[in-house]
Amino acid sequence: MASLKDATAIVGIGQTAFAKQLPEEEKTLACRAITAALDDAGIAPSEVDAFASYTMEETDEVEVAKAIGAGDVTFFSKVGYGGGGSCATLAHLAAAITTGQASVGVAWRSRKRGSGPRPWKNTAVQLPTPAQWTRPFGLLRPADEIGMLARRYMHEYGATRDHLFNVALACRNRANQNPAAMMYDRPLTREMYMSSRWISEPLCLFDNCLETDGALACVIVSAERARDCRQKPVYVHSVAQGLPAQHHGMVNYWNDDPLTGPAWTAARHLWKQADFAPQDVDVAQIYDAFTPLIPLSLEGYGFCGRGEGGAFTEGGALESGGRLPINTGGGGLSEAYVHGFNLINEGVKQLRGTSTAQVPNAATCLVTAGEGVPTSAVLLRAP
């Protein structure tokens, strides 16, 4: 059976500035991130023959391809479920390139979530399950939906707000080292966290990700071709998507164990194909739309046992020099929230050795997509 293991590599990354409001429109930002990534790779836009993005991406392939001057495109794919699709864009491109459908793939996400509308305010466009069974009762926003699971998690396993603060602080500390991060010059203290306003109890302001205008992209080619590119290749070692049996999306309240989410499903497949294990991961970029997703993901991806995710965050474990440094650019909580694409690019920077919070000699990196929705994940490996 054909394997995707190390068959492809990320050879270019690009991004725009991140801000609450950028003057340019999403289409322009998408083109800027993509052309920057191609320039980083040293590959001409006319060589691009594959695209992958999210179903929520509003600039389509036709617009992007004709604007950047792509050649004939033979593979294009979009993945659903918001931030759950981030790593799956790489998975689809890796599969396409490995099986000969295309040779130069571009994945991207461009979003004006900072200055644009909040999706939950549009009551005309609703997912069918929430529209009937949860939203009329005032469970309006993702923060409310995840807040329910967070409360139950804290109740069942004794996780505390301090554990959630540990997550917020680690991300903020890394952002304070990253000049591109929205929170670069904004340190966070425990007092600020504990006295901040509630969004949906038990989640406070600092448990929620940023609202960002920005775009990112990366370029993926075969491992063979990667050897001739401008940058040190970062290999796609293992990829997985995950939609667990009887999963219900962010309102995952109707199965035997609602606290076991898509991370568990993606992780089983991810590790099965990998040459290394959780204890061999040097640095992780874990999807952080909300702080409780980190302890859940730490459990799901096998860094600790069931119910131990809160305790895992203690003693600076998530900080630089800790047991598992996470979100070293600041993550969605403190660098930028662009549906997790900044986590992919940060993983590449770590394995190139160019992160602003570089983990010494980092050779392996886990990047995850949104937990709590049908998800995806990728293991990256340095040469």
């Binding site: 909040r118 305010k121 009551t123 609703q126 069918p128 399950t129 529209a131 009937q132 069974w133 949860t134 939203r135 009329p136 009762f137 005032g138 469970l139 309006l140 926003r141 923060a143 409310d144 807040g147 329910m148 699971l149 409360r151 139950r152 109740h155 306003r197 509630w198 969004i199 949906s200 109890e201 038990p202 989640l203 009887q246 219900h248 309102v251 309240y253 109707w254 199965n255 035997d256």
Partner: protein
């Protein structure tokens, strides 16, 4: 009373074909959950066929209406205007006494037609026993939950 001060109504459920019987029974004051006619397994949210035996036959089984709070949140603004008017309010998940896997999202209120912020927050507790009641919201009978020991 607080409802009269807001111009926008609370959101009504977007009722689909599979879910319609739930709301028809609710209008009669009955809490019923979809079940398979072939294997009797309950399922929620309602769907076209049984995930256990793939039968397309469905019946609606009456529940006692008793349950326990499984989790809860207290949403604060920014919210849609009708909800912001009552914020912070509660939203709860109730695990049904008859079928603990079946959980319903709802609101804990002091009386069936009382607003979403009518119960003091210190009364919200995981494990608290609750009982369903129904109230008319925009022509639809909405389930609400009352503490068994108020």
């Amino acid at each position: 009373m607080a409802d009269a001060t807001t111009t926008e109504p609370l959101l009504s459920p977007t009722i689909d074909t599979d879910g319609a019987p739930f709301w028809e029974y609710a209008a009669r004051g009955e809490l019923r959950i979809q079940a398979c006619t072939a294997c009797d397994e309950l399922r929620f949210p309602p769907r076209p066929c049984c995930p256990h035996c793939q039968s397309f036959g469905a019946k609606w089984q009456r529940m006692s209406g008793r349950g326990r709070i499984w989790s809860y949140v207290r949403p604060h603004p920014p919210l849609l205007p009708a909800y912001a008017a009552h914020a912070p309010y509660n939203a709860i998940i109730v695990e049904l006494a008859d079928a603990p896997r079946i959980r319903l999202v709802g609101n804990l209120v002091a009386a069936p037609d009382a607003p979403l912020d009518s119960v003091a927050p210190e009364r919200l507790r995981i494990g608290a026993k609750v009982q369903v009641a129904f109230t008319d919201v925009g022509g639809i009978a909405m389930p609400r939950w009352l503490l068994e020991r108020p």
